[in-house]
């Protein structure tokens, strides 16, 4: 596209030390079915470009939705003017960008059946059937089906000579049933958090069966007892729950911009500071976390990041020890790394890219272990499925999590369903208390499509994953 060259020529002629342009068209289809009422059936298309200029160790970023040669040049000039202003307020010589070579490449999320091409009627019919199924249960007062389909088409060029053509997309079906009984209301949700794949996933899921399950479990849950007083117990966490726990307590804690304090005013900083690299016991010996932006169906898998750095796979925690961070070209050199790990991503064309969590997952256990064996080996504990309440401090140390569905474990058996269970823990206690992880047959991915971070706030996406995992001696109890 001619605008790529116009922008890069303009930035170079203005004297940019480095510049890039990201032309991005984002298309979102949303269908929101509340009971049997279609509250929203929408298609949202946002297209424009953001030009980023690096000058004298500082950034300027300007964006526009007007596709016109003069406007592109004016936007490049604006980005340069802003970079010059930024350069008046820098530390020392300012930022240094990690070295990177140029690439000419394209990437497209592999999709067998593009959900944007599925007729609306087919989508709505599936959704209505699901909600009808849930509403048929006495006691279910509210049924929700929220379907989100998103595509980003990007053209990227930089003054390094890189030219990228990238299309990524994902689909996220979320269904929820709320039961109301005797003054209480409890919800049960099916939400895998989205995958970078097509409509074929929806067909595989058999959502009508899932609807039966969650409606029945919502009714079980509203009738369930609470756990009572908090005490130290074993916890077995399902992948659909653990995804969010690792997101909050490992993913954000190992974003290098947080480690550097760049998020101090809003999203917070990290306890996992650089002097801990290679020696800090973040978890037990069986805890291995991998950053992997090459993961098949991963929400952060895109071929390249928004710095034009290729996707990579690396250990973030190896054998329990903090190994490395997720980094970008402008954060990597701050702690003496030789290259970026390719974690720079922006949400929309008008967002300046920021350091994001990669696809990040817990490797499965090396010994054969099934969830049934894990439960059978647990005397007194709670098994948690799905995500619920979650809150963590701004240094990523202390946290409290709920869940979506709970079973008390007594003497190696699922004893009774529970509701309103919370657990409290902190880093590094929590991951060091991990004593068993089921094997790779039980590993499942879990997506996050609404990761809020940055000022102005951006919504990022990435995939996590785990097999059912046990933690010992955690404070578990009921809410008030």
């Amino acid at each position: 596209m001619k605008y790529l060259d116009i922008a890069m020529n303009a930035a170079q002629s203005l004297g940019a030390d480095y510049a890039d342009i990201r032309i991005q068209k984002s298309t979102t289809e949303t269908i929101y079915l509340h009971n049997l009422s279609l509250k929203n059936t929408s298609t949202d298309t946002m297209e424009g470009y953001g030009i980023r200029v690096f000058k004298d160790g500082a950034w300027g970023f300007a964006h526009s939705n007007i596709f016109d040669p003069d406007q592109v040049q004016a936007t490049a000039k604006r980005a340069m003017d802003i970079a010059l202003l930024s350069a008046k307020v820098k530390k020392g010589a300012g930022l240094i960008l990690a070295p990177e070579r140029s690439y000419i490449a394209h990437y497209k999320t592999p999709v067998k059946c593009d959900p944007f091409h599925i007729p609306l009627k087919e989508k709505v019919d599936v959704m209505l059937e699901v909600n009808r199924m849930m509403m048929n249960y006495e006691g279910i007062r509210q049924a929700v089906f929220y379907l989100l389909i998103h595509k980003d088409e990007k053209l990227f060029a930089s003054t390094l000579g890189t030219r990228l053509d990238i299309t990524t997309q994902f689909i996220n079906p979320m269904i929820s049933a709320t039961a109301v009984l005797e003054g209480d209301s409890q919800s049960r949700t099916f939400d895998e958090g989205g995958r970078a794949t097509g409509w074929e996933w929806i067909r595989e899921l058999d959502l009508t069966e899932k609807a039966k399950q969650i409606a029945e479990e919502a009714i079980i849950k509203v009738k369930a007892e609470t756990l009572g007083e908090e005490k130290r117990r074993s916890l077995i966490l399902d992948p659909g729950h653990l995804g969010l726990t690792m997101h909050e307590s490992v993913g954000h804690a190992t974003e290098l911009d947080r480690v550097l304090g760049w998020e101090a005013d809003y999203a917070g900083i990290s306890f996992a500071t650089p002097e801990k690299l290679g020696n800090y016991k973040y978890g037990s010996d069986i805890v291995n976390f991998v950053g992997d932006n090459t993961l098949c169906e991963g929400l952060a898998t895109a071929g390249f990041d928004d710095d034009g750095v290729p996707n990579q796979k690396w250990y973030i925690i190896k054998d329990g020890v903090l190994n490395e961070y997720g980094s970008t070209r402008d954060t990597a050199m701050q702690i003496g790394l030789t290259h970026s790990r390719g974690c720079s991503r922006a949400t929309s064309y008008y967002n300046q890219p920021i350091n994001r969590i990669p696809n990040l997952y817990l490797l499965p256990g090396k010994q054969e272990l099934t969830p049934g064996q894990l439960i059978a080996d647990t005397e007194d504990g709670v098994y948690i499925q799905g995500r619920g309440s979650f809150s963590i401090d701004q240094h990523r140390v202390n946290f409290q999590f709920g869940g979506d569905f709970f079973w008390e474990i007594k003497n190696g058996k699922l004893h009774r369903p529970l509701k309103k269970v919370l657990y409290k823990s902190c880093n590094p206690e929590f991951w060091n208390s991990c004593d068993a992880i089921c094997d790779e047959r039980f590993w499942r991915p879990f997506g996050v499509v609404n990761c809020g971070k940055g000022q102005p706030n951006q919504t990022g996406r990435m995939t996590h994953g785990a097999a059912p995992t046990r933690f010992r001696n955690i404070r578990v109890g009921g809410s008030q």
Binding site: L38, T41, T43, E47, V89, S185, A264, S391, N398
Partner: protein, 426 residues
């Protein structure tokens, strides 16, 4: 921009074939200077527009939005929305678009904000950083300016337009174990006083030296306005008339009842000039002076148009939040209880139990312990599990309400028996 919006509306009106439509156009011009660790790390400028069209054939709806304004794009917008509606299933809860209504003329912009230039914003950042450097501390934050214009038009004759301006400056100062933040947000840059904001930051910073470990317990707490805003925001979010009528929130069957504490009121108001008050909501519900809670009684709740029609209620939407305060100073509050904590801000508040209305969250940016009427020392951050509407029954005293966001004004509160349940390491 209004003329441009009207031209778009005329095109939509002329070309829409659907039985009904609702058009909403919003444009935003922003400049955002972000700084961290004593340097600018991000610096963003640009304009955006969003044109959102909902159409309906009988009760079958389709919704599309775009950010391009040429006729080809508008034709595509109409076609896409209408195609969606034609093939869609009927919506049993569909309500026709709003009719022509008078809405209040409100001044939500300031010349000072409109005229603010990037160099001035960078100068604010420089001065903020210089203050941090004078203490060998690191300062992070954001200085931002937004000009927003909104235009609405419906098939049934509603037409509305408003604009607003916003200026914001926040800064977090960190040195060793001390970390604290101040923020300012208003429609009017002219009322921003950087020297006072820096002075407030320095005062907070000085108060936080010598932190001591503190174990979580139920204890009286002085909640400062920025913290209060975050805490009660979730309660306002749960106050949905439909959800409450359906038994999903703690407010079920509480209209007209003294569900909260006598000392607590919450309203949306035009009467406070420094607060933004938009004249109508996103779904064209005209703003009216509304007490949501008056002296502890639940007067009404935000009510969407469909539920209002079904239940013969008045639709209502909060357009700002004002919690009236009192005259008690922090010094006086500290003398009212034997011991307690002072909280600057809360962080990462999330619902624990929607039906009960229970929340969890952390303190942030400074917690002080007081005893015998005086601040003794800072303490570590703490986790709470609390029910906001319950805390209104435990209000012992209220301070003066201050602007803590461009559309929120809240006081400092002294609340008895606040339920802290855990502590963190800093």
């Amino acid at each position: 921009m209004k003329t441009k919006f009207e031209k778009i509306a005329q095109y939509i009106k002329k070309h829409v074939k659907a039985d009904d439509y609702n058009l909403r156009i919003s444009a935003r011009n922003s400049h955002e200077t972000r700084f961290a660790q004593n340097a600018i790390t991000q610096h963003i400028a640009g304009e955006n527009i969003s044109i959102d069209l909902v159409v309906a054939f009988e009760n079958k709806t389709g919704n599309c939005s775009i950010n391009q304004t040429d006729e080809q794009a508008l034709a595509h917008l109409i076609k896409s929305a209408e195609e969606l509606a034609i093939v869609n299933q009927p919506d049993p809860e569909y309500v026709t678009s709003a009719q022509a209504q008078k809405y209040p003329e409100l001044k939500n912009t300031s010349e000072a904000t409109l005229n603010l230039i990037p160099q001035q914003m960078v100068d604010i950042v420089k001065k903020s950083i210089a203050n941090g450097e004078s203490k060998d501390a690191l300062v992070s934050g954001m200085t931002e300016k937004h000009i927003i214009e909104v235009y609405n038009s419906t098939k049934n004759g509603f037409e509305g337009y408003y604009e607003l301006s916003e200026f914001g400056h926040s800064m977090t100062l960190k040195k060793d174990h001390i970390e604290t933040k101040v923020s300012f947000s208003s429609k009017d840059f002219a009322v921003f006083n950087l020297d006072k904001t820096i002075s407030d930051l320095n005062e907070q910073y000085a108060s936080l030296s010598d932190p001591q470990p503190f174990t979580a317990e139920k204890i009286p707490v002085i909640i400062r306005p920025a913290a209060l805003m975050e805490f009660y925001w979730f309660m306002v979010w749960m106050m949905n008339r439909r959800q409450s009528d359906e038994g999903l929130t703690p407010f079920t069957d509480q209209i007209g009842k003294k569900f909260m504490g006598e000392k607590f009121s919450l309203l949306s108001t035009f009467s406070i000039p420094d607060m933004i008050a938009v004249p109508y909501s996103w779904d064209n519900v005209v703003s009216e002076e509304t007490y949501w809670i008056k002296n502890g009684v639940v007067e009404t709740m935000p009510t969407p148009r469909y539920w209002a029609i079904l239940k013969n209620l008045k639709p209502a939407s909060p357009f700002n939040v004002y919690i009236p305060g009192g005259k008690t100073s922090e010094e006086e509050m500290m003398k009212m209880v034997p011991r307690g904590l002072i909280v600057n801000r809360f962080w990462y508040i999330r619902p624990v139990d929607m039906k009960v209305g229970e929340l969890t969250g952390m303190t942030r940016d400074g917690v002080l312990y007081f005893e015998d009427g005086k601040v003794k020392h800072a303490v570590n951050n703490l986790r709470f599990n609390e029910i906001p509407h319950d805390t209104t029954k435990r209000i012992l005293a209220l301070g003066e309400s201050i602007l803590c966001d461009s559309s929120v004004k809240a006081p400092t509160l002294l609340v008895d028996g606040f339920n802290f349940v855990d502590s963190t390491s800093f």
